[in-house]
Symmetry: C2
Subunit: 293 residues, 2 copies
Amino acid sequence: MATPAFQFTTKAIIATFGGTLIKLTHDSAVLGCTMGANVFFPPGAFGRSTPKVPVIWYLAGLTCTGDNGAEKGFFNYWAAKHGIAIVYPDTSPRGSNHPGEHDAYDFGSAAGFYLNATKEPWSQNYQMETYITCELPAALYSYFIVLDGSRVSLMGHSMGGHGALTLFLKHPDKYKSTSAFAPIANPSLSPWGEKAFSGYLASKEEWAKHDATELIKAHRGRDLDILITCGLADEFFIAGQLLIDNFVAAAKEVGRENQVTVRYAPDYDHSYYFISSFAQEHVEHAAKHLGAL
Amino acid sequence: MATPAFQFTTKAIIATFGGTLIKLTHDSAVLGCTMGANVFFPPGAFGRSTPKVPVIWYLAGLTCTGDNGAEKGFFNYWAAKHGIAIVYPDTSPRGSNHPGEHDAYDFGSAAGFYLNATKEPWSQNYQMETYITCELPAALYSYFIVLDGSRVSLMGHSMGGHGALTLFLKHPDKYKSTSAFAPIANPSLSPWGEKAFSGYLASKEEWAKHDATELIKAHRGRDLDILITCGLADEFFIAGQLLIDNFVAAAKEVGRENQVTVRYAPDYDHSYYFISSFAQEHVEHAAKHLGAL
């Protein structure tokens, strides 16, 4: 066998909740830089090849890295109970230093929006969709063969909730399920989304291809069973950044209203205090689809 | 009734795990500065006066504020289940700007060691023992009368584990129980402790009064039932900063070996990945003593 082209460097191996969290770096050809990622292995799985375990990808929001969900999301506790691994990738390429890349919290670094940019200079390396759906999973599943690439679910928060919804709808054969915490559900019509799409995409015609509310209208085939939770004290929900009702209306428009469950949680905000409170429900939603409940 | 001398400013009210976390600031007369603190109220308790709920104080370690335990410890999840409030105070006075106060991670700001300094200039305001055991609890219990000041337990991590052990042994009538994650258990003989004690205390004769291993030897009266958990991959345990075995030996010396339970956890480190993994056990230990199990 040839040496794998893709190599990981293990920066830390950390015991947590009876399982193992590893902190990795690797050189991404797609993104043209060194990337960090965290992977949680449930009890007994790290360093073994079998029995294979299903995988959840947690996509974080603006300003985050793979650390936020791993440290504050409380997902590892529930994943340990159900024998599920969790991948916590980063939220953008790092270190490319395009003009303006680090000037705003909602564009450029830590704000990759999980899409493939088509506008210069971002199109050179802001290819987060390919990275998250192809390059990184292929590398991880061949390097850590205990990870079962045939049983994978998505979840994410805010910008990562947008990622979880859109990548699932774009690549329904890759994922068993998706769910989202306070997602940017109709970015074409929200300030965050408009800034990102106009910055990363060469023409406005492309926007619909990256907007969950448009994608669900175009979806054909399999049932979806999408779970969304959002706090009613979420300042970004209140400010019209999330537009979850538009996503629900689009689902209804195509007769899929029974395939989208939205839970509005009184009093909860947009922070990890909110996310961790509903981690159990989202991990169990994925576990059901992964055959791990 | 007179206006209370002690006032809190509420900076945020955050829903989490069915309860409420509030972020406070207040002016401390003892410390001579404005201090922050977080308080978690279990479901139904915030804004009410009855039924009263018992209280855990979580004392954080070097470099921390009241945020670390609140965000990463997952104590709130377990406290919610048992109907217990948690107070997360800060780790030192803030903003006094003594020479050298902010130069090291292990002395001065964020490193108050939960003692009353006797050496200038620290003796002016580094009075964390009085703040944690008298000023802040008296103020909190009179301001939030749902908090039951007659049912209070301590816990803490590292420097805060030292605080949880020593404040319990110094003030056994104030607390129902204590427990510690990776505590600095014999600071007189560890580098962290030697630096802190020689910096904060006017004479070496005072050291024993602030060292858990010496305090347990001098303890008279009530049984202790102290729980300590420490990871065997904890770099500070390995480096001899914690010296938990010395505390156990001291307990044995005075016939209290059955009153100290130490659990060494293979593979775990010193981080919140470790703490959160054993939060359940420590909250349940406190709950038992608080009549809340």
